[in-house]
Symmetry: none
Subunit: 403 residues, 2 copies
């Protein structure tokens, strides 16, 4: 019996309501050895209060030493083994914009790009064309018809980004990216990574050729690059696994995609404090598990801007204060991974976590919410995948194992 | 996908240089409850400085409660699952003396022993005969020829110890030890532990009989005891797994054997500070990962001599100071296991570890390098097998998982 089956069999229905607040890229690093991290520098009265009232710890997203992408990092937070449960970015993109994917569909992300007279990629993002330009082009590609009994859908995502979905019998998404990750070279062919994917790869090549013809009149968006091919295989839903009514509040499509992949009802939030607060208020009326995603902490970490990330963490703290206006029995706050400004990238460092509400042990340190204080937290250091069961237990939703 | 495959796929080439310093049996125990351990008693300015500049923690060698042998403890430090990746002592002994083992060879350790007139073992180590006596006797046994198309090699190791290698088609090393671990009883027969090993066990029995004939003129070394039979199956090399150029600096054959088993280039060091320092200086010129092994801390722990182990730890600290004369980007210091003088044996207690260099979090305690201080370290308590990936990550050699 795998761990998901164990927890699912032990899951209890309950009236408790859970806030699952994910501050993207929350964990950080000191700029000088032994100095404070971004979180330790930020003024976070609400998170500190929650930490002192509850228990803290640290979570390792995937494996020691491994910096995760946001997709697998979130799947781990939602209790799915992130190595066994890889979901391709194409599938997450399609789910993220609310496309009604069906099992067996193959999805890939599209970047509009500029192809020069020699057939080389001149700009991998087509001069970052904006949504008013990109949306009608996606609509144009949606008319493409492919050989055989295969349907083809193209949906716009944002700016120069879109996604394509193929639907038909026997499709297989084990196909390599066509994005060469460089300019001055031609796009790659959609090479099958498995013999069973040869026919699907041929259809992808046909799609790319037809897209090129339809975009021939465009100066900037004269071609497409495809990435993150995957076959949609629905995950076991959090609804079925844990008798939850889960909802997601997220401003960014990718996170809505992960949330849909695990069976959450998605509330599309406007970015910012009021947007997240309002969508959360809407969500709590009919849902007992609300995942709220705060994005821009990660963005400022990726920028390598320590001070700007500190400010975003302070903003995320104000969001927390607003979220708590609703009546939650258990509150969990963490990040999907660390994005230290000192590294300007995702990192492998464990992420601070707090659980407040329900029966909590006291931390050894008691120093509020920060990387060093959490080292002495009652939760210890655990795998991200172990977090959801702990939170469900705090909410009275996991029963006894054995008699 | 197992963890070795995951890490291997994520491995990045880099220019960084790593020191991997293993102080054998480093971990200890207090003599009085709550008192200091050997490491906490020792004056270790260099290790303390590295600990304060970096992150510390504790590693569990194999599984909680399990005292490891040096072979599996080292394999875990090198990132191999020590339970799945058992390498027999016979194979490590042959590799340790530089014998050119080929896949499918079966190797075993030889102890010369004294057999009395009744055919019983009178001394399991043949009166600890010294190398000038043992070496020519090993050469004598190297002339043994066995039935069938099987080659037989005997190499001297040290004093009363040697090893035997059988080479031929279809050999199988699943054979029980012949050492009865007692005197006054006859040696055991080389019993096959698997049906496929019956023919090889018969060859081992033939070897033992012929050795007895060739040693009939000896008073002390009148027979042989065989231990640690194993078939040589090369492990995936650290070179291929991680794009490293790894080297080992070790004075003792067994550790050179483990190093060769994982693809390291071996520098044979003279024992002591100058020997290790000189060999390390030689190693860094062409290698970017240097494993240095310090042995005698374990020996004094095995002796049950607390004060002598403290002195050896202080010596190991002086070695560290010399090793740091070279230019390393990331430095890791730990032990393969604990050897508390209070127990006079290997133990299961987690071992202090420090990583210095690269993006480090601050410890909660900041109290230098010792068992109790490391409890508050930023690395937490982890499995030995997780250590190498963390060190590689600190050195910029592990990429992102998923998008």
């Amino acid at each position: 019996m795998n761990r998901l089956e164990i927890y699912s069999q032990l899951a209890l229905p309950a009236d408790s309501r859970i806030l699952y607040y994910v501050i993207d890229g929350l964990g950080g690093l000191p700029v000088t050895p032994g100095g404070p991290t971004e979180l330790e520098t930020a003024d976070t009265p609400t998170l500190d209060r929650l930490a002192r009232a509850g228990s803290t710890g640290l979570i390792t997203p995937i494996l020691p030493g491994v910096a995760p992408g946001s997709g697998p990092a979130h799947l781990a937070l939602f209790g799915y083994d992130p190595v066994e449960t890889l979901v391709g970015r194409g599938v997450l993109a399609a789910l993220g914009i609310g496309f009604d994917l069906r099992p067996g569909d193959v999805a890939a992300r599209i970047n509009f790009c500029t192809i020069d007279a020699d057939g080389n990629v001149a700009d991998r993002r087509a001069g970052r064309i904006d949504t008013p330009v990109g949306a009608p082009l996606a609509e144009r590609l949606d008319a493409i018809e492919l050989d055989g009994d295969v349907e083809c859908f193209v949906c716009h995502v944002k700016q120069y980004r879109a996604c394509v979905v193929l639907r038909g019998a026997g499709l297989d998404g084990r196909i390599a990216d066509t994005d060469p990750q460089a300019t001055g070279v031609p796009p790659k062919h959609p090479v099958p990574r498995h013999a069973d994917a040869e026919a699907t790869a041929a259809l992808a090549a046909q799609f790319i050729a037809k897209a090129g013809e339809l975009l021939a009149d465009q100066e900037q968006a004269s071609g497409v690059l495809l990435r993150g091919f995957d076959t949609y295989r629905p995950l076991p839903s959090m609804v079925d696994l844990y008798s939850l009514r889960p909802a997601a509040v997220a401003a960014y499509p990718m996170y809505r995609g992960v949330a849909r992949a695990v069976g959450m009802h998605v509330f599309e939030a406007a970015d910012g404090i009021d947007g997240l607060a309002q969508a959360t208020r809407d969500a709590v009326s009919e849902h007992d598990f609300v995942y709220v995603h705060y994005k821009t902490t990660d963005s400022r970490g990726e920028d390598g801007d320590f001070d700007a990330k500190v400010k975003e963490i302070e903003n995320a703290d104000r969001v927390a204060d607003r979220l708590l206006e609703n009546d939650f029995d258990v509150v969990m706050v963490t990040g999907d991974h660390s994005t230290p400004a000192a590294m300007a990238s995702h990192s492998w460092h464990p992420v601070p976590v707090l659980i407040s509400g329900g029966p909590c042990r006291a931390d050894a340190g008691g120093g509020g919410f920060g990387e060093t204080a959490c080292l002495q937290g009652a939760l210890g250091t655990l795998s991200s995948v172990d977090l959801l069961p702990l939170v469900l237990a705090q909410a009275g939703r996991i029963g006894k194992f054995g008699a």
